[in-house]
């Protein structure tokens, strides 16, 4: 049947549009405007997938081409890159955690750095041999790192700074002089660390001045200089550290004298959980064993040449953003500041095999644990310093006893020599780690549903690992 020229032209145009649409789907890297909805909630997956190296030869190239909600799917290979992400709501995912490898060759700073981009998820890949960090989020609201492996990094493995509403899960970090995993500079943080293993670092976990709905659960910290170390200091914003919850973790053998270590890690060595100048932390139902000093210790952190003094109780109620508006004190004007460990609760932990004390408290100002609002109850522990600490400072009722009896000699501990820092480049290479399920087929999942909801009351004391 004959067609009018107008109809033919219209069909031709339609055919061209259809062809372009098909081409876009086939290539897999187009932006697919037809599938994007201007009414979709912020952070929704776009449905677009950019494959590396099929669509873009480099991860950075894919990131630069991506739009909000896109999935960047990375095939196995060694990528000599330092990836910067500044686009919101991306999902960077390796198809295989153990063979999708970012390698800094000890010349690049970060494996993946997410800077000011909200809701970015990074999943199922390895970063190694970076002078700074494996995976780094900063200045963001919403972040997630899942099924990540990081080793041989000059500062941290997984690092979230000035970042809120986040989640680090199913990940592994080793061989960092500062900490395997670090969350700092946030109040409130609104973040969860779950099912993570951290070993052969200076500190397994470090959190300077962080807290506020910050939860560390169901994770393993072993073979570090020290295991979990929330700490305070005026060299970072948001001081002091407060309101971190540590529940259901296994912490053991954190006496690793050949691991890399910054000065704080040297000082903290031989302790399982060491609250160094932190406040209002809940430490419950953890399994802690085999430490040269304390299993769970609450100690002050003496900061030399501090920038500022300890805030008042009223000032501590402020958010980090509010505190940042304070006038700048003269650098080093505060002299040496003692950040006390105060108002911490240590309940229902099972602690054993500690060289000095399974449960420890120390203070350089002569105050006892109860005077500073700390309490210890329902823990299974063979020793404590001061003696009978659960009678001296119970979490319910009034304590009795002499806080000076059997107290920790902090001055001697601080002065004692520790093995020098090892080389972070020489730490053991990890074995293969479990993959994310359905990494190749699962749709993009930007970090808009974080942190995960947790029923903390349902978390029970963990069992001893078969290899621990």
């Amino acid at each position: 049947m004959a067609r009018t020229p107008r109809t033919s032209r219209a069909h031709w145009l339609l055919a061209m549009v259809a062809a372009f649409a098909l081409l876009a789907v086939a290539c897999g890297s187009s932006k697919g405007e037809a599938s994007s909805s201007t009414t979709a909630p912020a952070g929704s997956a776009s449905g677009n997938v950019i494959k590396v190296p099929a669509d873009k030869p480099t991860i950075q190239g894919a990131v630069d081409a991506a739009q909000e909600g896109d999935l960047i799917l990375i095939s196995p290979g060694v990528y000599h890159e330092a990836v910067n992400v500044t686009t919101n709501y991306l999902d960077l995912r390796g198809t295989d955690r153990n063979t999708v490898i970012l390698d800094g060759e000890f010349t690049r700073e970060n494996g993946v750095r997410v800077l000011g981009a909200n809701g970015v998820a990074v999943e199922n890949m390895t970063a190694r041999n970076y002078t700074g960090n494996g995976f780094f989020w900063t200045g963001v609201q919403g972040y997630r790192g899942s099924y990540l492996t990081s080793y041989h990094t000059g500062n941290y493995g997984l690092y979230a700074f000035d970042a809120t509403k986040g989640q680090l899960d199913h990940s592994y970090a080793a061989g960092s002089p500062d900490a395997g995993v670090y969350i700092g500079g946030c109040q409130p943080c609104d973040a969860v660390i779950s099912e993570l293993t951290s070993e052969y670092n200076g500190l397994g976990y470090s959190g300077t001045n962080s807290g506020g709905n910050l939860v560390i659960v169901n994770s393993i910290f072993r073979h570090n200089r020290a295991g979990i170390v929330p700490n305070s200091g005026s060299y970072e914003p948001c001081y002091p550290e407060r309101n971190t919850t540590i529940i259901g973790n296994v912490i053991y053998d954190n006496n690793q004298g050949d691991s890399p270590a910054i000065d704080v890690a040297l000082l903290a060595m031989g302790n399982g959980i060491l609250v160094a100048g932190g406040r209002q932390n809940d430490i419950e139902r953890n399994l802690v064993y085999n430490h040269e000093r304390t299993g769970i210790g609450l100690v002050p952190f003496p900061e030399n040449d501090a920038n500022d003094k300890v805030p008042t109780a009223e000032q501590m109620k402020r958010t980090c953003a509010e505190q940042k508006k304070d006038p700048t004190p003269d650098p080093k004007s505060a002299g040496t500041v003692l950040w006390p460990a105060a108002d911490n609760k240590v309940i229902g932990n099972v602690v054993s095999g500690s060289g000095l004390a399974d449960l420890g408290f120390g203070d350089l100002s002569g105050q006892g644990p109860a005077e500073l609002g700390n309490c210890f109850s329902d823990n299974t522990a063979a020793s404590s310093a001061p003696s009978n600490i659960q009678t001296l400072a119970p979490c319910t009722g009034t304590g009795t006893g002499d806080p000076k009896a059997g107290a920790l000699d902090l001055v001697a501990l601080i002065a004692s020599k520790r093995p020098p820092a090892g080389d972070y480049k020489a730490m053991p290479v990890p074995a293969s780690q479990p993959n994310m399920p359905d990494a190749e087929s699962a749709p993009a999942r930007p970090a808009i549903d974080v942190p995960m909801a947790l029923d903390l009351a349902a978390i029970t004391l963990p069992s001893k690992p078969t290899d621990g």
Binding site: L115, T138, G139, N155, F161, I262, T328
Partner: protein, 143 residues
């Protein structure tokens, strides 16, 4: 050619070149100028107190505590790293002042003399990009 800025990196490098800053004023305002200068200060920047002499900017981990300062031309800006991490100072848009990481370890100070009026944006490359993260601005006004 003279530069509008003079660097004094650390106490050991106290001696520095003196600047003939006015020479580059016109060029400095262009996109490809050596110094990083924007068209003008933002409203918040203009509210900053004008300081003179040696003006301190504290870098802690991981931000510049005094992220916007206003100084008179000829003033020295003294960055001090009071954090525990390395930092640096890099002019945005390829400007020609900088404090390298090796000169700005924890505890170190570095001084730059700003002789030419304008707005100088900068950032720490380790903890920021040109417009995100650890960034700062020096607003230089005529004496």
């Amino acid at each position: 050619m003279s530069h509008p800025l003079t660097r004094h990196r650390g106490a050991a490098r106290a001696a520095a070149l003196v600047v003939a800053g006015g020479l580059l004023l016109a060029g400095g305002c262009g996109k490809n100028s050596g110094a990083s200068m924007a068209d003008g200060p933002s409203p918040s920047e203009t509210l900053a107190r004008v300081q003179t002499g040696a003006v301190k900017v504290v870098a802690i981990d991981n931000y510049f505590k005094d992220d916007v300062v206003t100084v008179t031309a000829g003033s020295k800006v003294v960055w001090t790293n009071t954090g525990r991490n390395d930092h640096n100072v890099r002019a945005t848009d390829g400007g020609d002042f900088a404090v390298e990481t090796k000169d700005f370890h924890p505890g170190a100070s570095a001084t730059v003399t700003f002789s030419t009026p304008g707005t100088y944006h900068y950032y720490c490359t380790i903890h920021g990009t040109a417009d995100k993260g650890m960034t700062g601005t020096i607003q230089v006004v005529a004496p």
